[in-house]
Every structure is written in C-alpha cells, then in structure tokens.
Assembly symmetry: C2
Homo-oligomer: 330 residues x 2
C-alpha cells in the first residue's frame, strides 16, 4: 500500500566495529529495514564512506520497494559517530577506534548519496532515540547513559539535546565518584567508567577471583580469567554465584552514585540506561535504584524513573534519524 | 533628574540571618539603595512578612526620591529564598533556618506591598544576577556555585535558568566526590559540601591541628580551635602558615574535582564562584583551576573560564530582580 505523503529519513550509526543503517518515516511511526555490516575501518576512510553510501542506497531502495515511496520522499541522513565532534562543521575530530582526525564525515556521506546530512555524538543520538519513540517518550528532562565498553551520556533538557559550549556535554562516564580512586583511560582518577564499564566490571571480578574465593566464573571463562566479560559476570550472578553477585552489587553502587549526582544536578524525569548493562536486568536495576534513593534528594528521586532503554541495538539508528529531524523539521 | 520612561523592580534576598532589599531599573543599568536588616525569623512568619513589606516600601520611597520615578514605575518584586521551593505555587516548602513549611511567601509579600511577585531559589538568583550584570555576562551556559556555610548552585543553560522537573536542579554541593567518604548533613556520603564548605574547611583545619603540627591558627582562634573559621584559615595561609596552606590546597582540590565533573557534564563557558570562598583569592583559584585542568576534558577546559563573582553580597538581590524580569519582561 502506498503512503505518498510520508517522508523518510535515513539513520546511520557508525561504530568502531559495526555500521548500522535504517530508514524511518519522519513521524517516527515505525522502523524499517535496519542493516548492519562490519565497519572495517582499517581499509581507510574512503572505503568506509563508500560502504556507508552503498548501504544507505540499499536501505533507501528496500524502503521504496516496501512502502511505494519515491526517492524524493527521503529528506536526508542523520549520522551518529563516536566523538569528539564538531557538529557545526560536521567533522569527526578524533576517534581512536576509527583512526580518523578532523574527518569531514557529514559532507563526505552527503556527497556520496546526494542528500543533506547531519552529524552528532552516538550517545546523544541514543538518548534522543529513546526520547523520541522509546523509554523516555514524553519527558522534558532526560539523562541517557550507555554502559558498555565505555560509558557515554546524553542530556535532553527542556525537550532538546543539550550540547554545551563546545559539544563536550554529557560525558557522564568521566565524572569522578572517588577523587583518589582508580586511574581512568581519560587520564583522570576515580571516573565512573573506571569502575562500572563492562571491562571494569570484568576486571573487578578478576580481582575478586585472585583473592581465592570459589566461583563458577572460573568454569565460564574456561579457566582463563582474562576471558571474563561483564556478561559472564551477570550470568553467573543470575545463576546464584556469590562472588559474581557481589561484583554486580558493586557495579550497581557505582552507577547509582553517579545517577544520584545527576538527579541532584539535573532533576530529570527519566534516566535511561542502555548498552550491555541492560542485559543484567533487575539484579542490577534494583540495587541501582536503592543506591539512588539512599543518596539523592527525595524530591529529585520522587520525580524520576530509572529505566532500561526500549530500543536495544537500534537506539543509535533511531536517534540519528531524530537528530536529523531536530535540525530539519519534516 | 527625572527618568520618566524607566521601570524598576525590587529584589529581596531572604536569608536565615539577614534580609537584603534593593531596587534596580529593568535595564540593569545600576543598583540603587540596598538595605539590610536582621530576619529575626524567631518572631514568626507574619512578622517577617511585615518586615519585608516595610523595607520594600522604604526602598521604593528612597528610589522615587532619588530618581523622580513614580510608584507606577515599579513593576514588581523578585524574591530569592533558601529552598526547597515550589516556584509555580510560590511556596517555601521547608527551610530549617527560617522554620517555615509550605509557606506562601510569594503571595504574602505580594499582598503586603500590592505588587506582583516571583519566588526562586537563592543560589539560582545569585547565578542569574552574575549572568545578567556580573562576571558571567554574555555567556550562554553558566554554572554558579555559592560556597559559604553550605554549597549551593545554579545553572544557566541556553541563556535561561534551568530548574529541572521539580525545582531541585543545581544542588552541586550534594554531589558525591568520594563515594565512601565523609557523612554529609543531607544524609549522603562524600558530598562536596562535606569537604569544601566553610565549616568543612574549618573542621579539616581543626583535624590537622589535632595532629600536633604548629600553626599560627592557634593564636588566631584565641587558643580554642572550636573558634576556627574558614576565613581564619584563608588569612593564615596568605600569611605563610604551612598547615593552613595545606588545608586551602585540599579545599581547592575538592572544589576543582566537582568543577571538573560539571565541565564534563555541562561544558559551560563560565563557572562563577561566589560566597565566602571568594575572599581566599588566587591562593584558592589557582589550584582550583589546576585541578580542573588535571581532571576535565581539554575541549571543556579550553571553553571555560573559572572566575569569582563580581557582585559580592548583592548578587542575591540583583538576581532576584533578574528572576522577576525573566518572568515579566519589562
């Protein structure tokens, strides 16, 4: 059935490992045809841009075939990428995982497919996606945290993404929760990311194992603790392993402390947690909420829901569409 | 000389100890006739409201006499008060220092003087005052911190005061910088306020003295450490006292850690510090800036000035005028 009046936007989520691309109607009514391929950044920026362009065209073609839309119905392309970025110029300033420096990703992709494009931080996109059609729909003030290999964040204040003076805003993973604590990759000490990212949770499990306590984690990792992942820790904890349970409780306390700070600073209506951490489920969310109640002001706690993201792995693509629409209303 | 076209707003800063009232032209061009009296909260809310009304009328009369303005030129009254507040209803929800609960301060003052009134948090007012005509003039994104007996905060984002979902936003003093650290009056552990408020700085000096190190502070406090204040610590440090110097450096590191968090979260153009801490001068500001550089992301550091407030004790009155004008443009 044709929907001649509908307009569409393509969202692109550029990751160090994977590219994900999808098209959505500008009214957010549904997600169509998300495709994912390896980024293969080692092949160089030109090859990655060509690959992105090809997948965008495939997604547009598939969407046209499925909906009867014409090519004219596609308004443009929203791109989400790891930062730091210069949004105004459309540059990726540096990304260790992609090896780019001051790369004009927005204009290169735009030229490749002949459509206008926008560029924003991947964590900002994920947060805006959850706000547009996901777990934070309808809220005015939202904090989004993506907890996986790193910890990223996005802020929606007064119904708009907040970027700060030079697009650095929202680096929640790099806020200090223990001023004399663990060294973080960013150079600072005691950052949330150094305690509660996936690799940090795995590292704390390894440290606990080294203490000699018995744990099913040893079997799960095939006897080699260097193989331990945060997912293994969550699994072992769910299955009743005492050591893994303690590690998950600690992760929850660290995340809860950081969220309590954000509640006292921002007083948001919703905090959305996304990334690998969502798979931990209630064994993590329950103690996170308890830690927040213990630390934050009651009116801020009462005003706020702390929820898992609803969009899973497609939050970045959906959010990239939303960031395009925020700059080019349909 | 008469200025018949000018409009005026009265600002009221309600403190636990002192009331301060002043009138300003709505163009912010100058401050006129600030009067200060004791609050005498123990006399009860009715007496305090009557006192506020009398001072407002005195300030209006003095301003009329000085400028030739008519009573019609006075648009209204902005009130700043310790929180938590309900801004929409104009209520002071609770203030331990004033002994009020759900007190309709805004409407009571409005009725007392026959002018419209607004109510906002005192730390928000101070920040807005510095943004309107003080040290943060012209910036889009500003964090204000008032460091005295407590540590309050205000946020100006996209050129507007940010209040959050339930008027709790900006409680910077109650963000955790050491998750297992000192107990704070708010019930949380490791809050900035528990380390870097005036009383906390004095307490750390007492703890250092108890270690037996010699210090000129002992003479300054008349031999009784319970008399030590943060101002004494700043004075002794300026005069070369080694123990006091270390205490001030620690205060700077705590404040710098909290500001670094705010830079990574908000990426503001200006952080304004106000309150008693400003008297410490460069001996405090230099190590605060160094700690921020050590901890925050470089693009956020590069985008931001960290400066003392320019309005001194009148920031609250000026800001109360500004919060009125934000809701009733002249």
């Amino acid at each position: 059935m044709t929907q001649p009046s509908k307009k569409y936007v393509v969202g692109v989520d550029v990751g160090g490992t994977k590219l994900a691309v999808g098209a959505m109607p500008s009214d957010g009514s549904r997600e169509i045809a998300v495709r994912s391929e390896l980024t293969l950044a080692a092949e160089g920026a030109d090859a990655v841009v060509a690959r992105i362009g090809r997948i965008i065209n495939e997604v547009i073609a598939a969407t046209m075939a499925e909906t009867g839309a014409s090519r004219d119905a596609f308004l443009g392309v929203g791109i989400g990428s790891p930062g730091p970025l210069d949004r105004v110029k459309g540059l990726v300033i540096t990304t260790p995982n992609l090896g780019w420096t001051n790369f004009p990703l927005r204009d290169r992709v735009s030229a490749e497919v002949g459509l206008p494009a926008t560029l924003d931080n991947d964590a900002n996109c994920a947060t805006l996606g959850e706000w547009w059609v996901g777990a934070a729909k309808g809220a005015r003030h939202v904090v989004g945290m993506t907890i996986g290999t790193g910890i990223g964040g996005g802020l929606i204040l007064n119904g708009e993404l907040y970027h700060g003076a030079s697009d650095v805003a929202g680096e929640i993973g790099h806020t200090t929760i223990d001023s004399t604590g663990r060294r973080c990759k960013c150079g600072n000490y005691g950052c949330l990311e150094a305690y509660a990212s996936g690799p940090a949770t795995a590292e704390r499990a390894r440290e606990a194992l080294a203490g000699g306590e018995p744990s099913s984690l040893l079997a799960l990792c095939g006897g080699d603790p260097s193989n331990i992942t945060a997912q293994m820790v969550y699994e072992a904890s769910k299955a009743g392993d005492a050591l893994a349970y303690q590690v998950v409780q600690e992760t929850a306390r660290f995340i809860g402390t950081a969220i309590a700070n954000l509640l006292n600073i921002f007083n948001p209506e919703v905090v959305v947690l996304a990334g690998g951490v969502v798979q931990a489920g209630d064994q993590l969310f329950a103690p996170v909420r308890a830690e927040v109640r213990r630390r934050a002001f009651k009116p801020a706690v009462d005003a706020c829901r702390i929820v898992p993201g609803a969009l899973g792995g497609s939050a970045g693509v959906v959010g990239a569409v939303a960031t395009f629409l925020a700059q080019h209303p349909a």
